[in-house]
Amino acid sequence: MPDSRSQIVVENLTLAYGDFLIQKNLNFTINRGDVFIIMGGSGCGKSTLLKSMIGLKSPDMGDISYNGVPFWSSEHQQQETMKRGFGTTFQAGALWSSMTLAENIGLALRQYTDLSDTAIRDVVAYKLMLVGLAGFEDYYPNEISGGMMKRAGLARAMALDPEILFFDEPSAGLDPISAKLLDDLILELRDSLGTTVVIVTHELASIFAIGNNSVFLDPVTKTQLATGDPNDLRDSHENLVVRNFLQRGMAETTR
């Protein structure tokens, strides 16, 4: 019987594109209310792991369980239902370009709830207010800036009040103030709604500011080198590669 606190359990996960191995033997657990960081050097397969967690890329081996239910060995219909508990923000926002922000955010609501049009309009307005975009309902994605698109993408991900929020590089391309605001927002969502947050990032400032659990992927050995609180990993992990990454290459060889 799994611990009732653990929400996502990744077991023996192996990811590959054809013959090209990305990562193997990944094992980690994400607890309810964690802000979990997937980190590692460029090209180590962070985004691929995220894709596998949100149901876009099937693993070659292993499985990912949500609340004890294995995702990849479930029926298609079950997978679709589980996916509704996820909210995902993509690197560049990935807003649907033919729809206004209100339509982008409202689509899932219209599809999966019985809310009336006015109620949807209210929910959309509230989600936009949360991400600091109040009043932008009727703008198209190409009429707003990159940082705004990212925040609108977050508003869309939050539309169905998901249990788990996934972020692909949330602060990449944002100025330090906006990045800080986004970090605060993520923490606020976790604290107020109890949302579990999974973030792919290599921004050290964010990692230490908001992360309380993490996995470190290594492109050379193609597996995870460490998992745990990033602050602990930085100070006392036995592997030099991990400490070096978290201390911007300043780790001492001997401790």
Binding site: K51, I54, G55, L56, E80, T81, K83, R84, F86, T88, F90, Q91, A92, A94, L95, W96, S97, S98, M99, E103, L107, A108, Q111, R156
Partner: protein
């Protein structure tokens, strides 16, 4: 600027001293380092190589490239490299270049393929494409079933917009092309049929040709270049922007949302456009016929009405539905199969148009043979 020179002399203690002098700047005709490399390879091999740069002037990447070549060869031949004679900056740049070792298996080795190998691969790719298209058609049928049952996710406004784009907005180009095609047919008809005193049959020729064959096929080709290409580009760009991933993560079927409305729009609009094109073609023929044949408008119209049966009309409209669905499927399938780059969007757009036109022409031949055999 002084000329760049490269000398190498055996120094004391079995050391090869390489001397750089002058300005070593890219694009100023640098000497080749091959003779130094040869000295490193040939017996008697020096034990170490050192550098003298006291006469070196300005330098840039040109110098580093030569140094890297010497360095690499020396390491390969187990010759020690003494970098003390180099300028500080150059030494640091070389260290930087070797700081991260080449990743195992990262380098690509291009292999020259033989002719037969390439032919074989193309054939396999062709059959693979055929399979993809069939799979896609199957998924489309499943999606249409969801539409029929009312369980599909799509935006009504999207569907209406696609209908407008594939219908009303194509009017201008379809008018011009069909009018001109009708005129061309009439010219040929007048020239040839007048020789037998049968000029009046130009009206029959134009009407039958337009309604049965030309209007469906020309409209379809216009739509392949206009709408099929747009479908591939729109869906392909959405794929590049991860918009399709975003749909999937919300548990929605991209095919219901993006493909089926486009196919429905084109299949609905094609017969209407085709009827309109036939009419424009007949007008074109009429303009030429009335002017060149010295017959009255009433005569021409009467001749046309007698020439065309409902069979021809329905035959032509059925063709247009077939062509329309082929164009839409080719465009959407190429869009969905698009890779993840701007280049890939261009390629799938091209492929959508080519595939659309090939499918139109092939099905046109098949349908014509069938029509003749069942006597339409």
């Amino acid at each position: 600027m002084t000329e760049a020179l490269l000398q190498s002399d055996p120094g004391s203690g079995n050391t090869l001293v390489v001397t750089f002098s002058g300005d070593w700047l890219l694009g100023s005709g640098l000497p080749s380092a091959t003779h130094v490399l040869r000295q490193l390879q040939q017996a008697p091999r020096p034990a170490s190589v050192s550098f003298n740069t006291s006469l070196l002037g300005e330098w840039d990447t040109g110098l580093i490239i030569a140094l890297l070549a010497i360095h690499r060869e020396a390491v390969k031949q187990n010759v020690e490299v003494d970098e003390t004679g180099l300028p500080d900056g150059a030494r640091r740049l070389i260290d930087l270049a070797f700081a991260v070792p080449e990743r195992e298996g990262a380098r690509r080795h291009s292999k020259q393929k033989r002719f037969l190998e390439r032919v074989g691969e193309s054939v396999l790719e062709l059959s693979e494409n055929g399979k993809d298209l069939l799979t896609f058609a199957g998924e489309l049928v499943l999606s249409l079933r969801r539409y029929a049952r009312g369980t599909a996710t799509y935006l009504r406004s999207d569907l209406l917009q696609h209908i407008q784009e594939a219908g009303a907005q194509a009017f201008a180009i379809v008018s011009v092309i069909s009018f001109l095609i009708g005129m061309i047919f009439a010219f040929v008809g007048v020239m040839q049929l007048s020789m037998f005193g049968a000029g009046i049959y130009t009206a029959d020729l134009v009407a039958v040709a337009m309604i049965r064959e030309m209007a469906p096929i020309m409209t379809a080709i216009i739509m392949a270049g206009r709408t099929g290409a747009a479908y591939a580009a729109q869906i392909g760009t959405m794929k590049v922007n991860e918009e399709i991933d975003a749909l999937q993560t919300l548990g929605m079927q991209p095919i219901d949302f993006l493909v089926t409305p486009r196919v429905i729009a084109l299949v609905l609009m094609m017969p209407l456009l085709t009827m309109y094109a036939s009419l424009m073609g007949i007008f074109g023929g009429m303009a030429v016929g009335v002017v060149m044949l010295d017959i009255s408008l009433v005569q021409y119209v009467a001749q046309t009405v007698n020439a065309v049966g409902l069979n021809s009309l329905f035959g032509g409209l059925f063709k247009s539905i077939v062509y329309g669905s082929l164009v839409a499927v080719a465009g959407c399938q190429q869009g969905m199969a698009c890779g993840n780059s701007a280049l890939a969007v261009g390629q799938s757009t091209t492929r959508a148009v080519v595939m659309g036109i090939v499918l139109i022409v092939v099905s046109a031949s098949v349908l014509t043979v069938i029509y003749i055999n069942i006597g339409i």
